[in-house]
Structures are given as C-alpha cells and as structure tokens.
Symmetry: C2
Subunit: 117 residues, 2 copies
DNA sequence: AACTATACATAAGAAAATTATGTATATTTG
DNA sequence: CAAATATACATAATTTTCTTATGTATAGTT
C-alpha cells in the first residue's frame, strides 16, 4: 500500500477507465478489480468510492440500475454517452500528465523508451 | 495546463526532487523551474507552494537561509540529511505508484518498454 | 456459531489544493 | 517616464478529495 496522499486525484480516472472497459460495474466490483490489477497495491476505500459514484451520477456521467441478487441489491453503474467522452478525455489527460511529471521526477527517461537521447 | 484535480498529491515529490538535484532553491525559483521542465504544463500556485514549504521546514525536512538581493529577501530551502532520505523514498514511491496505476489506465504497456509481452 | 466476505451508505474530520488578497521591489516596454 | 509585468514573499477563506469510523444487512466459510 502507498502512503495515503499519493492516491489523490487518481480515483476518478481509475473508475472511468474501468467503466469504459467493462461497460457495467457495481461499486464493490470496482474495488476488487483495482485490487486485482494492482496486486493489492491500491485499495479503494468505500468512503471515497461511493460518494464519488453518487456525484458522477448527479453530474450525468453515469447512470445506474439496480439488480437483485438473492435478497441483496447491487447497484450497477455505466457511462452515459457524455460520460464516455469525459472518461476518454480524463484518462488521456492523466496519461499525458504522467509523462509530463516524469520529466521532473525522472529526467533521464525523456521519451519513455530508454536511452533515445 | 491540466485540470486542477490532477495535480493533487504531486507537489511534495516535485519539490523534494528538485531540492535533491539543486541542493538549494528558493520558492519562486521552484515555480519557474517546474514551468520550464514541463513546458508550461504544470504551474505551481503560491498558495500551495509556500504553506507546504513552511510545513516541510517545521517537520525538519528542509532548513532555510535568507539572502539579500538588493532590497529584497530571498528564502533559500535545502534538504536536511533526514530530508534527503525522505525525498529519495517519496520520489521512488511515486515512480513505483505511476507504474502501478498504468496497469489500470494503460494495461497494454505492461513493462513500460513497449510490446514486450 | 463465529468469522469473513459481499454490498450498500453516510458523517465527521483531515489534508491538500484553489482562489483571492496583500505587500513590496525590480525590470521591461510603449 | 509611466505603466505594465516580473520577481518574491505571505496568508486567509473556501473547496475538493480523501480517511477513518460507523451503520445496516445478507451470504458464505470454518
């Protein structure tokens, strides 16, 4: 696990990226998928996840539908068509940002392809 | 310029990395250096920078000394030896984190060296 | 039967940034 | 040479985003 402050600002791109790929996901599923993909290095907390999902719904980025699993209810989220554009843009911006910040934190790797300079 | 929320959590690693390289820098210099290195894509705001520098000083990560430039005063910051270790660790952690999050946002680039899989 | 996992939700508080404002000197430009 | 911009610090109010804690309830495992 990383120190807390390092995760800041990454939750939204992560969620939108996963929804882009999977089309339809519920909250708990998102937490598990991220844990899988990062080998346990990133654990999304519920207190961060659910409020953000609610906000994204309020903003029209995602829509929800409920599904009954036995006596429990799952809330599935999927991107709206607006949300799809927003997701694409934000993920792109984030990846671009990571290249940019590498120029500061790791200036030897100019292009990301090694010793090309 | 990136959307505001994307910069979150990156300021501290940036500052510590620069201090690691330059040994001694003042606040305004840091903002300009980051602008240079990122071709204007990252602009550190003063309201974020100065309070963080003050906090780092209070924590013993950096020390300061004042220098008179004409009638103006510059406040130079440098890493303490503790700060040096902290800087190293945080920058490493951040770079590791970026690799991890790429597994989520850009799963085709497993290793960062292209089509190695 | 007790513990862990699944599945949602919210509330209080902390942390980190934005935005706005303030002060003052130095340099450039029209 | 006056005005605008750049240099250089600082802080306060507010917002955003996350942590930590708590709550409820069903399902599966030991």
């Amino acid at each position: 696990m990383y120190s807390k402050e390092i995760l800041k600002g990454t939750l939204k791109p992560i969620i939108l990226k996963l929804l882009q790929e999977q089309n339809r996901m519920y909250g708990y599923e998102i937490t598990q998928r991220v844990k899988e993909l990062t080998e346990g290095k990133i654990n999304i907390t519920e207190g961060a996840l659910y409020p953000l999902l609610h906000k994204l719904e309020a903003e029209g980025v995602v829509t929800t539908d409920l599904e009954n699993i036995g006596k429990r209810v799952r809330k599935y989220y999927k991107l709206t068509s607006d949300g799809s554009t927003i997701a694409q843009d934000l993920v792109e911006e984030f990846l671009d940002f990571m290249v940019t910040i590498k120029h500061v934190l790791d200036p030897n790797l100019k292009s990301g392809y090694g010793l090309s300079k």
